[in-house]
């Protein structure tokens, strides 16, 4: 098995392109999405992306604010208690982003179908609602019978819906720990990351920690994403900031509000990108941008004890540099 560690710049350069279908996260708005990967997508100016989002997060909010999202299939487009996602909301209301609505359970089911090689999944979810009848992709037909067409259960005769399975071209998935081959451990709910890692054609991992493979051999039942479905691994501390990574850091409430406020306008978005996207290139510089004091504060989480069993296998920055072979 080969060493798959690459830099964030390399990962975005190799695994993203204009017009791609990109799935992210498999996480909730305040949960473990690959926000750092999104920042780099914005920096490299990826455009016209078809997003497969379980939920919106600050990552998709940022990319949409920057005008990079052509289309998005999503279960929840807000930021939970942080309110509406202003960047995305602006893009949708102006018609820049076409938003196709599903539900929080619907997207994981569609990814499950894609992972299984099924062309569709049967569903009662979204059925009998405007999530089935209204389609932003086919706006001129209402009620629409093609987005979630009817299918008859051959055993009971009940008519239910069929949802199209999803096989995104690329997914970036945040995990707590990965080894250099791509074996991954997630702490906290895995939300839809398991099925996403199998449904996507290419998978890039963004990890809080790089750990030795011995950690995986001690806890193989925790390795829900095995190396064989992973194409690249990026080490990026605080990669979910300003949201939280269970066990590692809490969400930055102040920055969540601040970021969302700036994304409300085009000028604010430019300002945000200058300050928090273009202002660094290495993980070390990224931590400086957040600020040492803030990082230390956020990394004191009531969930820290969850990482304790694995600490002895965590690689130091110096060890990781060596594993990166001078990249």
């Amino acid at each position: 098995m080969k060493n798959k560690l690459i830099t964030m710049q390399e990962a975005v350069a190799q695994y993203t392109w204009d017009g791609m279908t990109f799935a992210h996260g498999g996480a909730l708005p305040v949960g473990s999405d690959c926000i750092a990967f999104f920042r780099e997508m914005v920096r490299q100016g990826v455009k016209n992306v078809n997003l497969i989002s379980n939920c919106n997060t600050q990552g998709s909010n940022l990319l949409a604010a920057a005008g990079g999202v052509a289309r998005m299939e999503v279960g929840f487009s807000g930021l939970e208690v942080y309110g509406f996602a202003n960047g995305l909301k602006r893009a949708v209301e102006s018609g820049k982003t076409i938003l196709e609505d599903y539900s929080n359970g619907g997207i994981p089911n569609r990814l499950f179908g894609g992972a299984m090689g099924w062309p569709f999944v049967p569903t009662f979810v979204s059925w009998g609602s405007d999530q089935a009848w209204a389609s932003a992709d086919e706006p001129d037909t209402y009620p629409n019978d093609k987005k979630i067409p009817a299918i008859k259960d051959p055993f009971t005769g009940v008519t239910m819906g069929a949802m199209k399975s999803l096989n995104p071209e690329v997914a970036c998935i945040h995990v707590t720990m990965a080894d250099i081959y791509g074996n991954c451990i997630m702490l906290g709910t895995e939300w839809s990351r398991f099925e996403l890692s199998r449904a996507a054609k290419k998978v890039v991992i963004q990890a809080d920690y790089i750990v030795d493979t011995d950690c995986m051999r001690q806890f193989p039942n925790l390795v829900r994403i095995p190396d064989l479905v992973v194409d690249a691994v990026v080490y990026w501390p605080m990669g979910v900031w300003p949201a939280c990574s269970t066990g590692v850091y809490d969400s930055d409430e102040e920055h969540m509000f601040y970021m969302n406020k700036l994304l409300k306008t085009e000028e604010g978005t430019v300002e945000y990108i200058d300050k928090y996207v273009k202002s660094y290139s290495t993980p070390e510089e990224f931590l400086d941008v957040i600020g040492k004091e803030k990082v230390d504060q956020l990394c004191k989480s009531a969930t820290n004890f969850l990482v304790d069993p694995y600490r002895k296998w965590i690689k130091s920055d110096a060890e990781i540099k060596e594993l990166m072979g001078g990249r």
């Binding site: 909301k89 209301e93 359970g105 009662f124 009998g128």
Partner: protein, 264 residues
Amino acid sequence: MDYSKNEMMAIATGREFSDGELAIFGVGLSMLAGFFAQRNHAPNMIAFTEGGVYGSTPVGGLPWGIEDNRISANATSFTNAIDALGMLVASGRVDNAVIGAAQIDKFGNVNTTGIWTEGTQPWKVGKYTLPKVRLNGSGGANEIAVGAKKYIIMAAHEKKRFAEKVDYISSPGYINGGDDRKKYGFPGGGPSAIVTNLGILRPDPVTKEFYLDSYFVFSSVEEIIENTGWDLKVSPNVKMIPEPTEKELENLRAVDETGSLRKK
């Protein structure tokens, strides 16, 4: 007794939960009402979040989201969305739940997706135009609407929110009323109550149109009718909802540590 309208609403919602139920809560008001019920009168209620977080209680304040560390610090199990929303909720297994609504209609259909300029709603014009205001989408509320044995809708009682027909059905209630849910094969039973800051509406057993069941000491039948956008029927037995007991208030405030419900 001194309490806020929001506290009354949370307590009235909490009273809809019985001991031993399997329940799912969202963040915010819904979670407060649920944890209040558990503390007050339903100690054996089993609650989880749609994040696949089991056995936990909030630590350090109300969570900002259902995957927030504040709800993950003392969990006994973390699984995933397919498990929580698919296998436990959409499947028909959950007994009771709470969802919110930006707009709601007389058959308990909920809109949390978008508000359209009057006359441009998809169901009126037969096409999908851009909403004037994009809301947040259904999240896991659609799963609850489809699968929960019953559930409660919480909403602020205003005329523009209580519409004859919602602009967009994000989470189906009784759709066009009567037996309409049967047509779709839903495992769940549909909404059992709409609890607002003014009172409680319940569905007619046959037509499934929501009628006024009860009001609060600080509201009235007239006020509720005025603030409802459809021709609201009133139960012949319409009654006043008992005020919070001291014990209820004490338990609610123990859950609402930061006093978020007292503010208004």
